[in-house]
Structures are given as C-alpha cells and as structure tokens.
C-alpha cells in the first residue's frame, strides 16, 4: 500500500501560514514518519497548533506543499483517517461520556448495521483512556484531565492511521501522563498508528521516537532525541534545545523579526 521510498505519513515542503497579517509558519520543511511517535516541541506561541491544524486541514491559507497519508492536507478522503485532539477538550459538556462517544462514533461509522461495531469501538477507547468507571457522568462534571481524556477517546474512535494530539498531557498528574505516553507507544507498536504529539514540556521529548523542535514559526531541528543530544553534546533534549536556540541567535545576529534590536546591535538602517 505504501510506497517504499516514502515512509513519511506527513511531508511538508515550504509550508507557510499567514494569519491576520502575521507569518505564523515560515517556509517549513519536515516529515512525520509512519508508525512512529513524533514530538513537536517548542515554547508556547511558536506555531505548534497552527502546524497541527494545517496537517489536519482546518487551517485556512496554507501555502507550500503539505502531503498527509499520500494526499494533499485537508482532502475529504482524509477525514476518517485522521484523529485530531485540540488543546482545549472539544466535547459536549451537557452529554455523558458515553453519549459523547456514541455520537462521534455514529458520525464516523453511521447506520444501524454498524451498531455492534460502534459499541465495541466505544468500549475499546474508554478502556484506552481509563475512563470505564465514568461512562455515565456528564462531561461538564469531570475534572480537566478527565475531560481531555474524553476528547482523546473521541479521536481514537475509528482507529485513525494518523493521530494529531495538541498538548494532550497538559494538566495531568505524573501517573496519568506516564499512562498516556505508554498508550501512545502501544498505539504505534500494536496498531501501526502514526502520532504527532505537541508539548512544551521538554522531558516528554525523551519519550518520542523523533522530534521536531520549533521556534518562532520555524523548524529549529528535526531528528531523534539521541542524535540531538549527541550532535549538541548535551545531557538532555532540553539542554540540546537551548543550545540550538543560542546557536541560531548567534547566527541570525540580532535582527530577529518582531523584536527590537538591542542597543549595541549594528543596525542595517532605514534611510
């Protein structure tokens, strides 16, 4: 099914997004490998969410080449093959956990004939996110972490080939965070799912197969955690990231967009 030379689930070339007159993503090149967990890391506001929205196909005014599962991003045939979890949990607060999942399952696999299939899918994802004991609680009554797990469960329905998760572990306690990362790895290993997971917590980077480090709308580096640590001579991915930021700053001089040049900077002046 997959072209041998192309093991990338997502491939971007010259990806640029302008939002409200501001260039949020500038000429990005990156790949997300099939069946692997790819971490998208960078400080808040660096464009992670915009990149994910572009991949999922909900971002307007995307320029450049962006291929997802062999099709242009946003292609209608991709809608049932991608699971997407936004940063804020997007579920119906006035429905119970089960009613939420039942509805989204009916949108994905509609019809009376698929009823049994849907029941199994709902039971499976409830188990995946460890919410089996909360099925009849209104989503609005759940804690923040529980609600984001319902949101994740919705994305797991229909066993998508590509899962795009925007900061799925924010606000979760360490045990749940570990369990979720175990789940991500299980999905990749057992179901061959490709995962693109964003985070601004650098210690989660160590748990990814592959990393895309972002800063100010650009890709700073793209590699495995081991290779990033090795090439920068750092102990941790966090140290590697800081090393790369400093190196980029030194290279660019002090003429970064949007920031006033410090007083001692040589100004390429306007006449």
């Amino acid at each position: 099914m997959m072209n041998k030379s192309d093991a990338a689930a997502v491939r971007a070339r010259g990806l640029t997004v302008v939002r409200g007159g501001r260039t949020v993503l500038r000429d990005l090149d990156f790949s997300v490998h099939t069946g692997r967990v790819t971490g998208l890391l960078g400080p808040s506001g660096c464009g992670k969410s915009t990149l994910m929205r572009s991949v999922v196909g909900t971002q307007a005014r995307v320029e450049g080449t962006l291929r997802v599962l062999g099709r242009p991003a946003g292609d209608s045939a991709l809608r049932s093959r991608i699971g997407y979890v936004t940063q804020a949990p997007s579920v119906y607060d006035d429905l119970t956990v089960r009613q939420n999942l039942d509805y989204f399952a009916a949108v994905l696999t509609p019809g009376r004939a698929a009823r049994e299939e849907r029941r199994e899918a709902v039971a499976r994802v409830l188990d995946d996110v460890a919410l089996t004991s909360h099925t009849d609680v209104l989503a609005g009554r759940l804690s923040g972490g529980q609600r984001s797990r319902v949101s994740l469960a919705v994305a797991l329905l229909g066993t998508p080939e590509l899962l795009v998760l925007d900061e799925p572990t924010v606000g979760l306690d360490p045990v749940l965070r570990r369990d979720l990362w175990d789940l991500f790895h299980r999905l990749a290993a057992e179901r061959g799912t490709t995962l693109l997971v964003s985070s601004h917590v650098m210690d989660e980077a160590e748990r990814c197969h592959h990393l895309i480090l972002m800063r100010e709308g650009g890709v700073l580096a793209e590699d495995t955690p081991e290779e990033l640590r090795r090439s920068t001579g750092s102990e941790t991915v966090e140290a590697a990231f800081l090393h790369l930021v400093d190196a980029a700053d030194a290279r660019e001089g002090t003429t970064r967009d949007g920031l006033p040049a410090p007083a001692d900077a040589p100004r390429k002046d306007t006449r």
Partner: protein, 245 residues
C-alpha cells in the same frame, strides 16, 4: 448528506436538551403563559385577543427557535466541537438538518400545546383548520432556526448572540402587523414590512383565522415563509467553514 448522520445529530441535540429540563420547561410553558395573560389583559375585548392571539401563535415559535438555535450553534463553534465535527466525515447539511429536525420536534410540541390552549382553553375564535395554524407555526419555527444559525456566525460570545434578538426580531415584530395593520403604516415602513418574512407569517395566521379554507393569499404567505427559511438555512450552511484562520 447521510440520513443516518442527520438522525444521529438530531438525537444528540435532543439528548443535550434532555439534560436541561429547565430549558425544556421554559420553551414549552412560556408561550402558554403569555397567551393566558393576553386573554385576560383583553378581558373586556375578546375580538382583540382573537387578532393578536392568532398572530402570536406564529411569532412564539420563531422567537424561541431563534434564541435556542443561535446559542446552541454558538456553543458548538466556541467549544471546538464544530471544528472537530467538520474535521470528521460529516456533511454540513447533516449538521444543519440534524439541528432543524431536533428543534423542529420541540417546536411541534410547543405549537401543539399553545394552539390547543388558545383554541379550546381560551376560546380563540378561528374559522380555519387548527392544522393550518400548526403548519404555519412549524414553518415559523424553521425560519427561527435558520435565522439563529445564520446570526450565530456573527456573534463571538453568548452575550452578543442574545443581543441579536432585539436587532433581528424586534423590527420584524413592530412591522409585522401585530400592532397596526401593515397598510396603515407610513409607506416606507409598509414597503420594509413587505420584505420581512415575519409579516407573511402573521398574514398567514390571519388568513386561517378569517377563512374556513386555505386562500390564495395563504398559500403565497406559506410559500414565502418556507422559501425564506430554506434560503437562510443555505446562507447559514455557508457560514460553516471547514478551514478557519
């Protein structure tokens, strides 16, 4: 469009509503209480009650469904569930038809209660068939749903959405012929009232009140209200964007 997805959406909307019994009670009871009040406000003048009461049977469903739909779709937009649904294989038509179906059902119950109370409880004098009253009420509900859906695209908070009610509904209420016959208005206002859909809703109700059988004017009024509802629903569908900035 897929019937199964439309039905699933309608069922989901109704399930959401079921978790909110207070809203259901308000939707169903407020029109009845208003009619009851009106009957005794015009205690000495039953003829006036006949005129206003029949018009109100058409206006209540429009206002209720406008409010309910604009808030519900706005919530759908702000909670991120709309973005999620549009990233799934769900047609925009499925979503809109699902909403229209669910709220249409609520509107039916509301109209049946209000019409029954007015005709048999409060002695509203109507020459035509109660079924025709119900038909007009349902079309009005559909129009309200359509307007609410359309307007929700221009509101960024529930606060703004509620403010659209006086902006969109009140002018129609003033000009629809409820307070003064439309042909006695200042000619400019009469012309404006000729292009507002609520005017036709009220005219249709008055035709049913005055004539035993559906008249040509009644058919025209019903077609205008139904046509407007469909037109606004299509405009509303155009405001649902899969890709947003």
């Amino acid at each position: 469009m897929s019937t199964a997805r439309t039905l699933a959406t309608a069922a989901r909307v109704l399930r959401q509503l079921r978790h909110d019994p207070r809203s259901i009670a308000l939707m169903l009871l407020v029109p009845c209480v208003m009619l009851f009040l009106l009957r005794y406000v015009f205690d000495a003048d039953p003829a006036t009650f006949d005129g206003i009461g029949a018009s109100l049977l058409g206006i209540f469903p429009l206002i209720t469904m406008f409010l309910v739909t604009s808030i519900a779709t706005l919530r759908e937009r702000t909670s991120g569930t709309l973005e999620r649904l549009l990233a799934m294989p769900l047609g925009k038509g499925d979503l809109i038809a699902g909403y229209a179906l669910a709220f249409g059902l609520v509107a039916t119950v509301q109209s049946v209660l209000a019409t029954a109370l007015a005709l048999w409880g409060l002695g509203l004098d109507v020459v035509g068939s109660p079924w025709l009253l119900l038909l007009v009420a349902l079309l009005d509900a559909l129009l309200g749903t359509a307007l609410g859906l359309f307007v929700s695209a221009f509101a960024s908070s529930e606060f703004q959405a509620v403010q659209f009610m006086p902006a969109v509904i009140f002018p129609q209420l003033l000009l629809c012929g409820l307070f003064a016959p439309r042909d006695t208005m200042q000619p400019v206002l009469e012309a404006v009232s000729n292009v507002l859909p609520m005017s036709y809703a009220v005219d249709a109700m008055n035709e049913v009140r005055a004539y035993a059988d559906p008249t040509g004017d009644f058919v025209r009024d019903v077609l205008v209200v139904g046509g407007c509802a469909v037109l606004v629903l299509v405009l509303g569908a155009a405001t649902l964007r899969r890709r947003t900035a």
